[in-house]
Symmetry: C2
Subunit: 155 residues, 2 copies
């Protein structure tokens, strides 16, 4: 059974993200869902996503934290406002700022698990604290300030 993520509930126009868009077939298509009060995404790096051989490229790790943060923002906002997710009504968040701390080299074998806690929901903003796990250890930590997409985005 495929576990759906909040990204499966974005409207088509918001579903082209290289990191998490269900309509971007070249991208990572990560899915973010609740597990209790934590948000979870999982991604298995491709063999060429190397920093040094055997370890994951930092830009991919930043990318996963970024998309996990916008997905977490959407989930938290929907829960806070009692929005039941149906196709395709999920709120769409974009990243305002991103901080990533590389604690130790991240092994490239096997899946990476990205887990978030909601630190603050205020108006259109959601802040998440995020840990990225590999091989049973936290390798990267981060924080994302996600913002409900403005009506005039890109205009």
């Amino acid at each position: 059974m495929e576990i759906k993520g909040v990204q499966d509930f974005y409207s088509d126009e918001f579903a082209h993200c290289y990191g998490c868009g269900r309509l971007n077939h070249d991208g990572f298509q990560i899915k973010t869902r609740w597990e209790g009060d934590e948000t979870v995404s999982v991604y298995t790096p491709r063999k060429y996503h190397t920093a040094m051989e055997g370890f994951v490229y930092g830009g991919l790790l930043a990318s996963l934290i970024d998309c996990h943060g916008t997905g977490s923002g959407a989930l938290a906002y929907a829960r806070e406002h009692g929005i039941e997710l149906t196709e395709y009504n999920a709120p769409r968040f974009v990243t305002g700022s991103l901080t990533v701390n590389y604690k130790k080299p991240t092994p490239i074998e096997g899946p990476l698990e990205i887990r978030g806690k909601i630190k603050e929901i205020k108006g259109r903003k959601v802040i998440s604290e995020i840990n990225l796990w590999a091989g049973g250890e936290i390798c990267v930590t981060g924080e994302v300030l996600a913002v409900l997409i403005p009506e005039n985005f890109g205009k």
Copy 2:
């Protein structure tokens, strides 16, 4: 004429980065060089590197700032220590931490220019302040703490 970047002077074992490794043929292969006292890299996004249609995916922008920061670290450390770059003696930096602020949506057409200023060099650490330009505007700003790779990296 191909303008070489510091990444062309990394030893083979350090040249597999998805963002900037000359030996990673699936990757971005960005090159970072001096222009006066600023460091510069240029990258043209692929058509599928979208956030929303028409705009660049934030994870790619974070990735470019990340690799630009490690390249800037290598350049600054080499200059500080009077190391003349030859094949393949460049110092190799890895990212300790990364901060990215998304100021405005980044248009996907045309090249992105990433420009860095060295804020601090201290021992094995180099901090760079980085602006990412597109279409004549700064769309993203960031800061990278880069660290000379430890002897025991990944061990």
